[in-house]
């Protein structure tokens, strides 16, 4: 009798341990602060991912800093600010500014495309559509803007859309004509800042990523795939758009060629909390986790995510290797 109750007691202990073991492991291995620098256009989906992730791992504390993608990189390369994960709206920013000194790899995880946003009160909002937007932007008195091409990829991409429209619709001089109707004062550092100009009635039309338009519940005109920089099938055509942006020092410029909007993400080499950063990436790249959030917030993800070479895939943390495919 006594022996039996002893066995029972032991059984309870074992059962309790077995039940608790996975819990304590899953909430125990991800903890501490994880710093993420992200492109402004990722702010809202990342905020939601943060909530979901921190609900799973209460000990984790994600700190996000949103800025233009190039500024994010500058904070790492120039200001030496500690950072675990960097997500850029243009994956080439990571390739050009962070690899190889600050990062080893670069996963392409989502896409986006350009749309023309407006409000009910915007001029000619009743008539604007995919066929006449470029004619409306050329009208006198219409205030439209884009973000600074030197600071924000969305800025030079907006200009590329205009160039592509000129080629696609075969209207010579369209680009110059439209730019002439956009005083410099209508430019803002980041595209997200244009949203408040639309909402306060200071601007009629603004170029945004589709995701930003969806997240801020703006009205927007969807453009043809050939010009919206959203479909990599048209990369050959996108290449024909060329915009000059700030070079290495003031007064110098470099040429940016059009290419589909592809988001890149990496973990920094000297990430202060690498373990946790890998767990976050595992969640972000999961089709039922972060990628689902992106989908819902207007930012079509790559399922699965992509790296350009097999060698880069090999350099990923092991748990991430099986989550990506090699595709250029």
């Amino acid at each position: 009798m006594r022996e039996k109750s002893g066995c029972k007691w032991l059984l309870y202990v074992i059962i309790t341990i077995v039940i608790l073991l996975p819990c304590s492991k899953s909430s125990g291995d991800v903890s501490g602060k994880i710093i993420i620098f992200n492109a402004g256009s990722l702010t809202l989906p990342f905020a939601r991912m943060e909530k979901e992730f921190e609900a799973r791992y209460p000990k984790a504390d994600i700190l996000r800093e949103a800025a233009g993608s190039r500024k994010c990189a500058r904070k790492i390369t120039d200001l030496k600010k500690p950072c675990d994960i960097m997500a850029s709206a243009d994956f080439t920013v990571i390739d050009q500014m962070l690899i190889p000194k600050y990062a080893d790899w670069n996963i392409r995880f989502a896409t986006n495309r350009l749309v023309l946003c407006y409000m009910d009160k915007s001029k000619y909002s009743k008539e604007v559509n995919a066929q006449n937007w470029f004619e409306i932007l050329g009208r006198k008195g219409v205030v439209w803007g884009h973000s600074d091409p030197n600071l924000d990829p969305c800025g030079y991409r907006s200009l590329m859309v205009l160039q592509l429209a000129e080629k696609y619709y075969k209207i010579p001089g369209l680009y110059e004509r439209l730019i002439a109707n956009r005083p410099k004062e209508n430019i803002r550092p980041k595209s997200v800042e244009l949203v408040s100009l639309l909402q306060t009635g200071n601007m009629d039309y603004a170029w945004e990523y589709r995701s930003v338009a969806v997240q801020h519940e703006l009205k927007f005109v969807e453009l043809a795939d050939q010009i919206n920089l959203g479909n990599y099938k048209y990369d050959e055509f996108y290449k024909k758009a060329v915009v000059e942006v700030a070079g290495k020092k003031p007064g110098t410029t470099i040429k940016k060629k059009g290419k589909s909007c592809t988001y890149g993400i990496t973990i920094l080499k000297d990430a202060p909390n690498k373990e946790a950063a890998i767990s976050i990436l595992q969640y972000m790249l999961d089709p039922h986790g972060g990628l689902k959030v992106l989908q819902e917030m207007g930012q079509p993800p790559f399922i699965p995510c992509r790296v350009p070479t097999a060698a880069m895939r090999k350099s990923l943390p092991r748990v991430l290797q099986k989550m990506v495919e090699v595709k250029d």
């Binding site: 005083p183 004062e185 800042e193 306060t200 200071n202 020092k249 007064g251």
Partner: protein, 260 residues
């Protein structure tokens, strides 16, 4: 004479505070090379932005002076119900986060607001204009002027004014001939404070006007597009020029203080 411990506490606290303020500034001022500094000041954009900064901050101070002086005088001399409330409102711009100031001003200046509609019919543009910059700078700077001028007026005995009034001078002429000569130093300090606050403003301005660029916005743009190497020299020039301007103003006030 034996120094008390309290004396040494004051000295050591003073040294700590001086180091706290000066160390980062010295680091900033000594980072760029002389060649870089020369190259930067030859850059037309830099000169234009620093000039625009000084000019708009000066205009903001002038507006604060013209419209703020009567209010400061009223607050210093009269007791009325709701005075504390008015004083609270005056301090509000100091407490509001800068981007919020910018958005608030834009929302009044936009088409969604009747004031914005009136403006657009008059052809006045706030977004992306010098008008907009001055509006923002006045908004953030005016509390500093009001408070300094008010303190100045309060320190002058109302008796002097009463004597003047009893001898037949009007309220305006009393103000010009008695109050102003006694309070002008506080008013000047208020103007300096207002200017200083205005020159340093970034967060609200960048929302209302990115172009034309004032110096802090240019520093930000240079940092983002080209990195620290090209933004620091601009900052050094802005800090140096402001320092010289404020020093001159301070010295002027001091010299006159001794004369009186």
């Amino acid at each position: 004479m034996k120094r008390e411990p309290f004396f040494w506490i004051t000295i050591s606290c003073g040294v700590v505070i001086m180091a706290f303020i000066l160390l980062p500034l010295i680091q900033l001022m000594t980072s760029p090379s002389l060649g870089m500094l020369r190259e930067t000041i030859q850059d037309k954009d830099v000169v234009r932005s620093i000039w625009l900064s000084i000019y708009t901050a000066g205009l903001a101070a002038l507006i604060s002076f013209v419209f703020g002086t009567p209010l400061a005088y009223l607050l210093a001399r009269r007791e009325f119900s709701g005075k504390r409330f008015v004083e609270g409102i005056i301090d509000l711009p100091i407490a509001i986060p800068h981007p919020v100031v910018g958005i608030a001003i834009l929302s009044v200046a936009g088409k969604n607001h009747w004031i914005g509609q009136v403006f657009s019919e008059l052809g006045v543009r706030v977004m992306g204009s010098v008008t907009g910059i001055v509006t923002v700078l006045t908004f953030v700077g005016i509390p500093f002027y009001l408070n300094a001028a008010k303190t100045g007026f309060e320190s002058i005995s109302p008796r002097l004014e009463k004597v003047s009034r009893s001898l037949g001078a009007s309220m305006f002429s009393t103000f010009v001939r008695i109050t102003f000569p006694l309070a002008w130093r506080s008013m000047l300090i208020g103007i300096i404070m207002c200017c200083a606050r205005a020159i340093s403003e970034f967060g609200a301005v960048v929302i209302v006007a990115y172009h034309p660029m004032i110096a802090p916005v240019l520093i930000y743009e240079r940092f983002e597009a080209y990195g620290l190497r090209y933004s620091q020299p601009v900052a050094v020039w802005l800090v140096s020029i402001c320092l010289v301007l404020f020093l001159i103003l301070r010295i002027l006030t001091l010299r006159n203080a001794k004369e009186i």
